[in-house]
């Protein structure tokens, strides 16, 4: 198999320490960026939806909005892939707690917010997007599997694709099981062809065994606090400019990524 090549035209990032991709770049250059507000702004959502939406939606919409704005693409036409290892953990905790105690009192709104594709639904509604949208999961390989889905979609249909990968912090007894202790979300705008907004080109190939890419602190510590933070090696690579990294694409499958100079 020859490598799959796509261009990155936008990057979104949000965690309690990093409010956007520029904050990661600053951190890697030795400047401590100021932490973002406690709640992602998710400015793409209309105010009434922003009030109603669960945290997983705010996080996904925030990073999606950042990546699309950086790319200059029209969100309404973008196919999108939303990956998450656990979905909205606060909603799952609420659902399971209510079902154990008073099932007939389950909130209809929180039920429809519990679907794994809630961020994809809110995003396409807010942006008037009729393009294909999907929601995927692959446990700790969710970012790698989502990236593979987004890249194959971009290349087979020759269209730009928005990839979002995000997980909220765990709630209730579920927190110990999922091991997510803080939120992390990121987004990439991937295009099959280079354009004015192209930041870098990625060459991706599958490898039989996953070898973890070492990360500097504090990224290494953060990467253990959230399943979606498995994206950090690639984000650090994009912030730095050149090199390669390896991500998990499935339990026994690696995704080798070279950052190519397009100049």
């Amino acid at each position: 198999m020859s490598a799959l090549r796509v261009c990155v035209e936008g990057v979104g990032l949000w965690s309690p320490q990093l409010g956007n991709f520029a904050a990661l770049q600053a951190l890697l250059c030795g400047t401590a960026p100021p932490p973002p507000p406690a709640r992602p702004a998710a400015a793409t959502l209309p105010p009434n939806e922003r009030r109603r939406a669960p945290e997983s939606v705010l996080l996904a919409v925030e990073v999606a909005g950042q990546a699309v704005a950086m790319s200059g693409h029209d969100a309404a036409t973008l196919a999108c892939v939303f990956a998450s290892s656990h979905g909205d953990q606060a909603t799952t905790d609420y659902m399971c707690r209510t079902l154990a105690q008073a099932p007939a009192e389950l909130s209809p709104t929180r039920f429809h917010n519990s679907v794994h594709n809630a961020p994809a639904g809110y995003w396409t509604i807010a942006t008037g997007c009729h393009a294909p949208s999907t929601a995927v999961a692959a446990q700790h390989a969710s970012f790698g599997a989502g990236l593979l889905e987004a890249v194959t979609l971009a290349l087979s249909d020759q269209r730009p694709v928005l990839l979002v990968c995000s997980d909220t912090a765990g709630s209730g007894p579920l927190r110990k099981v999922t091991g997510c202790t803080q939120s992390f979300g990121c987004a990439l705008l991937l295009s099959p062809t280079p354009g004015e907004a192209t930041l870098a080109r990625l060459a991706l190939s599958l490898t039989p065994l996953h070898v973890a890419t070492p990360l500097p602190e504090p990224l290494a510590r953060w990467s253990n606090t959230n399943a979606s933070a498995a994206a950090l090696p690639l984000l650090a690579l994009l912030a730095g400019g050149l090199g390669c990294c390896e991500l998990r694409a499935a339990a026994t499958l690696g995704l080798h990524i070279e950052l190519e100079n397009i100049a």
Partner: protein, 400 residues
């Protein structure tokens, strides 16, 4: 939109309330026998009808997969054992290698039933009680992680969870990986089991009928929830000249509402047009459409209008949810299997439960079983969040 290179479906299977495997599906469909029963799941507190699969509780996993044990994975294992599916995957694994076969499965709730159960018996400190099971049972990827272990596959492995379109969209993801040469074959499918989350959740939305569901009936009043497992093996067409074909697929978003379809069925129509364009077909060439047809007031109204304005009177259309119930994330693969049975057996299942047809339904509706050649069959799947998918299947040798 360039025309897609058709793929071969070299094996498929379905297990629903109608029974285990394709013969059981076909027999019940031919005899117009519904699999729905009064709710006897869990504490059975909700007065509704369900499509429950018999034998799930007895379908114990192999000892080396015991850490994946839960009702959803038991149904997956039961489903995998039908129609020689395991043997056919083994042949593909030997031909291509385990790392050249993708596993892409759809599910809406995966094994959330196991998480619900853990919350019913928390320990004194409010944490999950001691449990020998894998913590990943409490995550959406539980199903695909178990099945990839059960099938000894080592290729790309992904869960698609877009509510009720999940296991239709898996065909699209697999086709893209095959087209780009990442893999040589893909196991696709989906499993969803009955659980309190969906029974009480859809009940809270006032979408559950107290009676067996009646898709496209003028007096329909809601869905009946079911459970199912289904799988298909996709390979390049040249490997299997006689196998039925995946000709195309379409995907689109409503951009309208989280739990109500677009009033004019915009996303559904875009998915349908995308699917026909990829297949290189005109609407007139479609013989049968297995409809989403949930028996919810809105879905059926919008979908019937779409069929009426798009297809000629000779195209036949029906929902089979009166047989199986709405199997949610498994509906896509179950109804793909029924569309493939229609092609294989020249048989159009009647729209069970529609005894007083809604006047919005056109002449395309097959209210009773029909015996007739089917070369091209479509399957519609629409999910919450306005997520729409449409699949196109054809007889081998069919040419547009």
């Amino acid at each position: 939109m360039p025309i897609m290179t058709p793929l071969a479906i070299t094996a498929y299977t379905a297990t629903t309330a109608l029974g285990c495997g394709l013969d059981a599906q076909l027999d019940a469909l031919r005899h117009a026998r519904s699999g729905l029963r009064p709710n006897d799941f869990g504490n059975g507190a909700l007065p509704c009808w369900i499509g429950r699969v018999d034998g799930v509780e007895d379908s114990a996993l192999a000892a080396d997969h015991a850490t994946w044990d839960c009702r959803n994975n038991r149904l997956a294992w039961l489903g995998l054992q039908q129609d020689d599916f395991l043997a056919k995957v083994r042949v593909a694994r030997e031909r291509y290698g385990a790392d050249r076969i993708a596993l892409i499965l759809g599910t809406s709730t995966a094994s959330i039933g196991a998480t619900e159960e853990a919350y019913r018996r928390l320990d004194a400190t409010g944490d999950f009680a001691q449990d020998p099971r894998h913590p990943e049972v409490h995550a959406p990827h539980s199903l695909a992680a178990f099945v990839t272990a059960a099938l000894s596959l080592e290729g790309p492995c992904m869960t698609v969870s877009t509510a009720c379109s999940s296991s239709a969209k898996v065909f699209a993801s697999a086709e893209r990986m095959l087209r780009l040469g990442l893999i040589d074959a893909a196991v696709v499918g989906g499993v969803d089991t009955l659980c309190d989350s969906v029974l009480f959740g859809f009940n809270a939305l006032e979408l559950v009928s107290a009676e067996p569901c009646r898709p496209f009936d003028a007096t329909r009043n809601g869905i009946s929830i079911g459970e199912a497992a289904g799988f298909a093996l996709l390979e390049r067409a040249d490997i299997a000249p006689e196998a039925p074909r995946l000709l195309g697929y379409g995907e689109a978003s409503d951009a309208h509402h989280m739990s109500t379809p677009h009033p004019q069925g915009l996303g559904a129509e875009l998915a349908l047009r995308d699917a026909l364009a990829r297949a290189g077909l005109a609407a007139e060439q479609v013989d049968y459409i297995n409809l989403h047809g949930t028996a919810s007031l809105k879905n059926d109204e919008v979908e019937a209008a779409l069929i009426e304005r798009t297809f000629p009177a000779g195209t036949r259309a029906s929902s089979t949810k009166g047989f199986t119930g709405h199997t949610l994330g498994a509906a896509g693969i179950v109804e793909a299997a029924i569309a493939l049975l229609a092609i294989e057996h020249g048989f159009i299942p009647g729209n069970l439960g529609g005894s007083a047809p809604d006047p919005v339904c056109g002449p395309q509706f097959a209210w009773r079983n029909e015996q007739r050649r089917v070369d091209v069959a479509l399957s519609n799947s629409f999910g919450f969040g306005g997520n729409n998918a449409c699949l196109v299947f054809a007889r081998s040798g069919f040419s547009a």
